[in-house]
Symmetry: C2
Subunit: 341 residues, 2 copies
DNA sequence: TGTTAGCACTCACCCTTATTGAGTGCTAAC
DNA sequence: GTTAGCACTCAATAAGGGTGAGTGCTAACA
């Protein structure tokens, strides 16, 4: 069974391996980590740990390498103790000038800061739409028969698309329709908006094409976050780690980043947890089977959450990543939440 | 001097090297390309070509490799003869479903198609703003003291930003200002808009903050394309080529792609040429010194041009790339140009 | 019973040393 | 001007040997 001493040894092994990426041997542990135990004893314990599935051995005369199971234990322990260093907070604040306000600029910048501070690949996603409350809806004429729909919501997030209005409409007509719709939809969530729009559609047959265009758009925005924007940072950072010296592996990793849909699905997990950690196979994506993904959420009003995250090798500096994500989450909530007023 | 035979030999060497990436020897040329010459003769010619600077020799007992100068000659010849195969046209059309109309979606998709068809990294940039004619300007209230500026232009390109309006303004006020501005600015280019706005500013002191916000935005949009959007495709494609088997090189390449500003500057060159080809050092970016960049423009109205391009190793399949870029340019002009009516 | 010292064994890694073969340059003959 | 022949070069591959980090096992010790 797993007693305290075994755990201490395992922890030392993980710490060492995270730092060096070299399989760690019994002698290293006994000397470097002052256990007061000889290497032979450590060896016995390591043998047990391997049997328990916490350690792997690349080959018989190499040191041991932590397994996914080991990282899982390590992370759970870290989270359970609430051991989230706050050092990163000032760093984040420092790198985050507060000039820019545009949603898109903010998330791009956030991704850059995140990857800069962690040296891993970072992901920043705008909140999904379902829970956002509408503040304003406006139609801007583009051509005689098409218009741009702009929806301003909670947190100042704008989403826009061009729809076909079906027949000629001048600016004034569109404006009065906009006013009417805004009045009806204001303070409702996007999901509520759906049924209201349907209702309106029943009474306003003459503008049915326009309304169905808007409905389609709202649907798309609300529905499984398909319209949420995703920014990546530090995509080439992975190449800094020896485990990705193999070009083949690197290509696999990078090609996953290119299909944003896959990533979106990964980040979609809207759990209540402060952090979600997926280690290796837990990511569910074969190409990422020796990566870890740590995600956190930031709040942007009552029920609106965006996601930020970091992808790196399984031997990730989890503690540091937690700390940075934590700080960044706060910073984003602050920055984007302020737009509210 | 460079006679016809030398040129034929050089061409054969380039063709072979583009295909195989292996330094090509005299024997290969004499056998594979049916010159009716013995390897010894080829050797003599190759020696001359090396002296002329068209060939490099990695080491004394290796075959020859084309120099940047050789590619330059090759490309110039290709372009001079107008040898642009049209095969790619149907491919592009095939991969380009015409559903989507949103500018951003279109360029993202275009980048994907481009990299898919060429197997290189692709770049697609929206047109720069300076020459666009304004069709409509509208202010949408976001919060009590800030508004979203939407400018609809020629070709249906929308750009938007949030500005501070300085004081409380309700929706109706903003709308009447929008109408007024639209009336004054319609059919003017962004550059002309600048002076008109300055003029208006003189007579409308009470809304100075709003106006200066708009001016700043127009300035930004117009000025050296800083607001132009850029989409990348196939960023990991470079790893498919043996010259980038070295992780160090790959990292360099990829990190250039991460700083979009650098790329923008590269694409900025608004020459009148159908194609611009920068070979190796001609890119001006040290990290890309063994890459080639081929760009083309697509038209979107009278004077509005967007840029599309492809980055790959210097031994690029230039002919094919020309053909694909050509087809894509047409497709984009069509697709986005149609929004006009 | 848990801990440690000692020892034989394994195996990746590195270094050195052939071996091979593609390719060149030069020369002499056609 | 072209070609055959030959000596030479040198990257790439393979093969051999030494090194050292690390293990597992056993026997002695506290």
């Amino acid at each position: 069974m797993m007693d305290a001493r075994k755990f201490r040894i395992l922890q030392a092994i993980i710490d060492d391996y995270i730092l060096t990426a070299i399989p760690v041997g019994s002698r290293t542990i006994s000397k470097k980590y002052e256990m007061g135990l000889s290497s032979a004893t450590i060896r016995n314990e390591m043998s047990d740990l391997e049997e328990l599935g916490y350690l792997d051995q690349p080959h018989v005369s190499a040191g041991r390498v932590p397994s996914a199971k080991a990282y899982r234990l390590y992370v759970d322990q870290l989270l359970a103790r609430g051991m989230i260093p706050t050092a990163a907070e000032t760093d984040v604040r420092h790198y985050f000038g507060d000039r820019t306000r545009q949603m898109e600029d903010v998330i791009t910048h956030a991704a850059q800061v995140l990857s800069g501070l962690t040296h891993y690949t970072s992901l920043v996603m705008t909140p999904k739409g379902a829970e956002l409350r509408i503040r304003n809806l406006q139609l801007v004429p583009v051509t005689a028969t098409s218009a741009l729909v702009v929806i301003v919501t909670d947190g100042g997030i704008m989403r826009d698309t061009v729809i076909n209005v079906g027949k000629d409409m001048d600016s004034d007509t569109l404006y009065s329709i906009s006013r009417m719709l805004t009045e009806r939809l204001a303070n409702h969530t996007l999901s509520e908006a759906q049924s209201i729009l349907r209702e309106i559609g029943g009474t306003m047959k003459e503008n049915s094409q326009l309304l169905s265009g808007i409905m389609e758009f709202v649907d798309e925005t609300e529905g499984r976050g398909s319209k949420a924007k995703l920014a990546l940072g530090g995509t080439s950072n992975i190449l800094n780690y020896p485990e990705y010296n193999d070009v083949e592996k690197a290509r696999n990793f990078l090609s996953v980043l290119e299909t944003k849909e896959k990533l979106m699905r990964l980040l979609d997990n809207q759990s209540e947890m402060a952090f979600t950690v997926r280690i290796g196979p837990e990511t569910g994506i074969p190409e990422l089977s020796d990566c870890s993904l740590v995600t956190a959420t930031y709040r942007l009003g009552d029920n609106t959450r965006g996601t930020i995250g970091v992808i790196g090798p399984t031997r990730m500096q989890y503690g540091h990543v937690f700390s940075v994500l934590n700080a960044m989450g706060q910073q984003l909530s602050e920055l984007l939440g302020n737009d509210k007023e």
